[in-house]
Amino acid sequence: MAWDGTLTPMPANEAFASKIQVFEPHRASLPPLIPYIKEFWTRRTFAIELARFSDKAEYLDSRLGKVWLVLNPLLLGFVYYLVVTIIRPGGSLPGLTRLDHLLIGLFTFYFAQNCVTAGALSITMGGRLILNQAFPRALLPFSCAIQAFQQFLPTIPVYIFVLLVGKWAYPTTQLPGWTWNFLWIPFILVCTGLTGFGLALVFATLNVYFRDTNKLLTYITRIWMYLSPVLWLPESLRGNMKVLLYINPLGPVLNATSRVWISGESLNNSTIFWCLFWAAASIMIGGYFFISRERDFAIRI
């Protein structure tokens, strides 16, 4: 070394002792999980505010602004209602019940789908953040899941409004009024959000390695919706086809959605188990896949 200068070390700040970080080589394995989860929790405000500001920026230049949050799913529901009534006119369900089942099914499905599609892009689109700041990368898909939830929330009053108008217009409808079974709804939404977030972690990682994953996802989500009890009722499945409700990560939550919102029933143990199973499986598989590879993201982007 050519240097012969002297550097007087400054007195060490005692607080530094608790902030020692060691960066070492790694293979595709999980980093220490407890510090990771602590850091994730400490910086959750970043994910929440990122979701809030992304939402704000998305509708800033639109004349109707956040009204689109309600209009969009409502128009979508109307389109699918036309499709369903044209394909199966006079099906087993009365028109209002069919419309309500379709609406709440679509709203819930799109909540999960938005978690996955926006989350899948969150890493490749967040390149500047990934390259220039160190933070748990899972915060980016998490932020997308929060944003999807924020965009889902306004659809609930819309659904309730449609339901009330329907009950007023058709007093004989079988649709339930207030029931304590509605207390299952937060459970269903938490399971939907966790499943969506877990799947977002999988697709976000895949999208880093294969940039056309997102194109494929467009078709996957469309097929996924047709295989989910959104356009059809869970009870309409017969025999071996019932397996569709269990091998589909969103099958159990959409089944539960229909059971609580449309039938006003409580959830049985089997439905609760499968909702929890897919939420836990998605988080564990997605979490492992994502976190074990996230240290490579800065190189791959």
């Binding site: 400054m10 060691v22 990122l50």
Partner: protein, 259 residues
């Protein structure tokens, strides 16, 4: 690691493979698999066997040509890139300013971006709320601009706001990559003043700069990197002098050839 050290780098090497394909896609992967071909890649040795100890309170300047590994070194110290070999131990809270406007959303106002940028840098909401006015004042934006979308800012205003957010933190270690080039002469002087203030508070600062005067003015120690390797470490004036000679001559000085 001794408590007086802010950063210890032990035999650090960072190597990575870059794909020679125009785009990595699932379609290409399937095609390659069907033809039993391997992906064409190139191995980049960005940092080679670099060791360095940096005491608390040092201001380290890093000089070197493009591709020398300076930014890779900074990112590895920040924990953004992992070492391939060796180890980095960092003793303190790090703040980075490796690029301008990280975390910013051009559609949002300066005020909103202060919150986003601050949160991205690791500040919490209370800290940001307390500092918003201070940051806006430091960035010296014209009247009313703080509430306008950042996409309406000039590049100088954008740079000043980014810089103001980064230095609003009170990190133990601050990593700056060409950030001092933000703004005009008056803002540069203000930036230097803030740097000196941070140094006086015993912060450790690492500066990557092609503006060699910055290195000699602000730093008390400098390193010169070339093609991923550490060529020399020493007093900034000496390092800058040797580096300038190298730039003029085009080859390493004979006393560095063995390094």
């Amino acid at each position: 690691m001794p408590q007086d050290l802010a950063i210890r780098i032990e035999d650090l090497s960072i190597t990575y493979k870059v794909s020679l394909e125009a785009k990595r896609t699932l379609k290409n992967a399937v095609m390659r698999a069907s033809l039993k071909q391997k992906e064409r890649t190139r191995t980049i040795e960005a940092v080679k066997h670099l060791s360095l100890d940096l005491p608390h309170g040092s201001v380290l300047g890093i000089v070197g040509s493009n591709g020398a590994g300076k930014s890779t070194l900074m990112r590895s110290i920040a924990g953004i890139l992992s070492p391939t070999e060796g180890r980095i131990i960092v003793n303190g809270k790090i703040s980075t300013l490796l690029a301008l406007g990280v975390g910013f959303n051009p559609a949002l106002s300066g005020r909103d971006n202060i919150i986003l940028g601050g949160l991205a840098s690791g500040l919490n909401m209370d800290e940001i709320s307390n500092k918003t006015d201070e940051i806006a004042e430091f960035a010296a934006l014209p009247d009313g601009f703080i509430d306008l979308p950042v996409r309406t800012y000039s590049s100088g205003m954008y740079g000043r706001l980014s810089f103001a957010v980064a230095v609003s933190m009170t990190p133990d270690i601050l990593l700056l990559d060409e950030a001092l080039s933000a703004g005009d002469a008056a803002f540069k002087e203000k930036s230097f003043e803030r740097m000196r203030q941070l140094c006086a508070e015993a912060r450790t600062i690492l500066i990557v700069s092609h503006a060699l005067a910055t290195v000699t003015d602000l730093c008390d120690v400098a390193i010169w990197m070339h093609k991923g390797a550490l060529v020399a470490k020493g007093k900034p004036e000496q390092i800058v002098d040797d580096y300038l000679k190298f730039l003029n001559v085009g080859s390493l000085p004979s006393n560095y050839e063995d390094m």
